[in-house]
């Protein structure tokens, strides 16, 4: 794959990720039914629920992993894409790209959480967990940002900046 193709694909994936980020956060990820109570939960709703039950540290972990990291990753990648070809701050951009590459995987917490809850939420009317479309969008955002960060390589930052 040529670098031009990599750049183009990476840009497209970042834009797609930013668009998908909206439904991923608005639409419910799952519907939990426990003892007759039906509760559709968005990603933020899940965080809110944890916070309200006095579990602020757990709420913070989920908030950082599933809301902040995907957003920061997409914003960071957008900035890198806009800066492509410029000779400003190449070292900082290289570090940023490495960091974004590392932290992205933690957003998978929400997808795994959905998996575990669906697995044990098979008790019929007593307790059931049903996955919803929000989960699909959320997974799509993660994949877009993951592939985008993978396609845009550190050496591409240095191509025009090298003497």
């Amino acid at each position: 794959m040529t670098d031009a193709t990599r750049l183009e694909l990476s840009r497209a994936l970042v834009v797609a990720g930013l668009i998908l980020y909206v439904p991923a956060n608005i639409m419910p990820v799952m519907i939990m039914t426990v003892a007759g109570e039906v509760a559709p939960l968005t990603v933020m709703g899940g965080v809110q629920e944890l916070y309200d039950s006095g579990l602020a540290p757990v709420a913070a972990v989920v908030f950082v992993a599933s809301i902040m990291i995907p957003f920061l990753k997409l914003i960071g990648l957008s900035w890198l894409m806009l800066m492509h070809g410029s000779d400003q701050l190449p070292r900082e951009r290289t570090t940023l790209l490495r960091v974004l590459h590392q932290i992205g995987t933690w957003s998978m917490i929400d997808i795994f959480l959905l998996g575990v809850l669906v697995a044990v939420g098979q008790l019929g009317i007593l307790a059931s967990v049903e996955a919803q479309a929000g989960g699909l969008f959320f997974a799509a955002v993660l994949l877009c940002s993951l592939f985008a960060a993978d396609l845009y390589q550190p050496r591409m930052i240095w191509q025009l900046a090298s003497p």
Binding site: V58, I111, F112, A127, A139, W158, S162
Partner: protein
């Protein structure tokens, strides 16, 4: 570009092309590019392939245990449901969310196995000093699959799930969580030990 043989005294950085002056390293030291910060050469205290092989073997055993023992049990009014890693995948498929199911399956079951397996093979070749069939390709697979092996993230998700379920009913841990935890520790230790450039160069030296 970590080599066991001597490098030329000056060479271009593999990332940014800056001119690098090589120097003698003490064990544990790294040579980094002064402009972009890329690690170019590292002198290990000892051959890292034995440790990698041992960790990968341990990891493969733990992977089997983590997949055959239930992780947690949820209990609502005497009705119990326990889960294996695969139960969530099957549940998601039943509900029609196969893309999400595929992602969970790949990142928590398939990728860890492929990652451990390929490292086991590659480290085995480095240890014995023999060129195993297709070892270069397997090493490439290990590099490509590494970011997808997400057992530690799965472990955190299990903890969050328990916290959430605790609000709704009785939930307790099963033996599987021990194996998932140990597998996480093992895969994080491996991630720290694996020096791709060293392995790449070691493989080129094998006959």
């Amino acid at each position: 570009m970590i080599v066991t043989k001597a490098l030329p005294p000056q060479f271009p950085c593999s990332l940014c092309g800056a001119n690098i002056h090589d120097r003698a390293l003490k064990p544990g030291e790294e040579l980094r590019c002064g402009r972009c910060g890329e690690t170019l050469r590292r002198l290990h205290h000892r051959d890292p392939s034995h440790v990698i092989w041992a960790l990968a073997t341990t990891g493969l055993i733990l992977w089997v245990l983590a997949n055959v023992y239930p992780i947690l049990t949820f209990d609502v009014a005497g009705n119990k449901q326990s889960n294996l890693i695969i139960t969530g995948v099957l549940g998601l498929i039943t509900q029609g969310f196969w893309p999400v199911a595929l992602l969970v399956f790949f990142c928590s079951i398939a990728a860890p196995a492929l990652h451990l397996g390929s490292l086991w093979y590659v480290a085995g070749a480095c240890c014995t000093g023999r060129r195993f069939p297709m070892v270069q390709r397997v090493a490439h697979l290990a590099n490509e699959i590494a970011p997808w092996s997400l057992v530690p993230v799965f472990l955190i998700a299990c903890f969050v799930a328990v916290v959430k379920l605790d609000m709704l009913g009785t939930v307790y841990w099963d033996n599987g969580i021990i194996w998932v935890s140990l597998l996480s520790v093992c895969s994080m230790a491996l991630a720290q030990r694996v020096d791709r450039q060293w392995i790449g160069n070691r493989l080129k030296e094998l006959v």
